[in-house]
């Protein structure tokens, strides 16, 4: 059978231009066209970054599109919920036995604590009324707006979530956000649009809140994100002379430092418990680590504190 071949000379190192594969639509277009398109997109991205970062001109459009995307996100969440519940149920079943004993003991301790606290609260209310004392605002001075978590896009760079409540519900930038189950501090609203808002979590590098030890209120500092990869927080700027006990509850101070200036965080929101406290010669303040009360990785819904009209 004759072979259908022709003699061809392979020219190595010649200046002959190889044509690009015509199968790819982008290869078909000229290199100039390709570079123009990509350059244009990069330029457009840079313009978007500049405008979005420096002004609020795009906020309306972003809010509108985010509102349009919301039903799709809710639908995807509902579709995936049975699977998530199944995973949670299995996980919970494994942990349940271990937790049961510990929780029973804790409930007993807390029951005794509640009785003491209730009498202290009553006494406090009476004393305040007698003295006409006006302290920093507390959680009771705010309305509570419940909101589901839409996206929980937490990464080492960006510790934030988006929630299904916005300016139409009274939510504004700076509103304080707490966890509905534990009452613990979650973070603050960073950006608010009509129906959605972005919450910067307490574990974000930009978050900071003045806090105090509930048991030893003289220990006032600032809670910020810890240096490690975990969700552990740091209670910084606490004087070395102040006493802080392991296991003490850390709450929002309701004021800035030791001065009279009020914080945007109402007093008394629990943040977590002290997991370690030490002094060293390098740090002029105490080294205090705080285990947060809130499990930031499994947030399902939040409560936004909105000032009462």
């Amino acid at each position: 059978m004759p072979r259908n071949r022709t003699v061809r000379l392979a020219v190595l190192g010649s200046s002959v231009q190889r044509t690009a594969a015509s199968g790819y639509p982008s290869s078909r277009s000229s290199a100039l066209k390709r570079r123009t398109i990509v350059g244009g997109l990069v330029l457009l991205s840079l313009v978007l970054i500049t405008v979005s970062f420096r002004s609020s001109a795009l906020d309306g459009a972003q809010g509108t599109v985010a509102g349009i995307l919301r039903p799709f996100e809710v639908a995807a969440d509902r579709v995936s919920r049975p699977f998530r519940d199944a995973v949670g149920w299995t996980h919970g079943l494994i942990d349940a036995k271990n937790q049961n004993k510990k929780l029973r003991l804790k409930v007993e301790l807390l029951r005794q604590q509640v009785i003491q606290d209730e009498s202290a609260v009553q006494e406090n209310v009476q004393l305040k009324a007698h003295l006409r004392y006006h302290g920093p605002p507390s959680v009771r001075d705010f309305d509570r707006v419940g909101a589901a978590i839409l996206t929980n896009q937490q990464s080492p760079i960006d510790q934030s979530v988006t929630i299904a409540a916005g300016t139409s519900s009274g939510v504004a930038a700076g509103s304080v956000v707490v966890d509905p189950s534990t009452g613990g501090l979650v973070g603050t609203v960073d950006r608010a649009r009509s129906s959605v808002a972005r919450v910067t979590l307490l574990t974000d590098g930009q978050s900071a809140v003045t806090a105090t030890d509930l048991t030893y209120p003289s220990a006032i500092g600032v809670v910020t994100r810890g240096g490690g990869g975990s969700d552990v927080l740091v209670l910084d700027s606490v004087s070395k002379s102040a006493y802080v006990g392991i296991g003490d509850t850390v709450i929002t101070a309701g004021r800035l430092g030791n001065g009279a200036l009020q914080s945007k965080f109402p007093r008394g929101i629990p943040i977590g418990s002290v997991s370690s406290a030490s002094n060293n010669d390098v740090n002029p303040f105490k080294n205090i680590q705080v285990e947060p009360l809130v499990d930031f990785s499994s947030l399902q819904s939040v409560i936004v504190l909105v000032p009462k009209p």
């Binding site: 398109i37 970054i49 995936s80 990464s155 760079i157």
Partner: protein
């Protein structure tokens, strides 16, 4: 037609990323959007990859109320680069999707970090580096199913078109 199909695929993938994967803390470092985009770019070329990257980046930034353009910029460059790789040396090579995902996952993380730094926002390099190995492994695990599915939806272009790449003289 490919464009509409790609837009739909990327939209569904973005929803999967935002509403489902991020619910599980273990998967939070993974990015199925990145994997899907790179698969599309490998199969359809650089301009397709760049446009798809820009679109999906804009969608992500909008949905998360982030700074518009940050994800778009990184994903445009990533989609374009891997698209060029797909047009030139990566064809029919089994390892090309894995290599692309591995390289772009690392570069995307550092690119994001650099942009954060340039914008004057916190850029915790240590946290990013510590989270990178897990993200890399998860993305590589997602590569095979995602690439297989996307290859089925966007079959590679005909072989006849490819052999014209080298012209024999004589």
């Amino acid at each position: 037609m490919d464009g509409v199909k790609a837009a739909l695929v990327l939209f569904v993938v973005a929803l999967l990323q935002l509403a489902v994967l991020t619910e599980y803390s273990a998967f939070r470092t993974a990015s199925i959007v990145l994997v899907a985009l790179l698969a599309l770019a490998l199969l359809r070329g650089s301009v397709f990859g760049a446009v798809a990257g820009f679109g999906i980046g804009l969608l992500l930034d909008t949905a998360t109320l982030g700074t518009l353009g940050v994800s778009s910029l990184l994903l445009t460059v990533g989609g374009f680069w891997i698209g060029r790789y797909g047009e030139t040396t990566a064809r029919d090579r089994f390892h090309s999707p894995f290599l692309s995902v591995a390289v772009v996952t690392v570069l995307f993380a550092f690119g994001q970090l650099a942009l954060q730094f340039l914008l004057g926002e916190p850029a915790p390099a240590g946290l990013v580096v510590r989270g990178l190995p897990l993200g890399l492994v998860l993305n590589l695990l997602l590569t095979l199913p995602a690439y297989t599915l996307i290859r089925r939806l966007f079959p590679p272009l005909e072989l006849g078109d490819r052999v014209r790449e080298v012209r024999l003289l004589g």
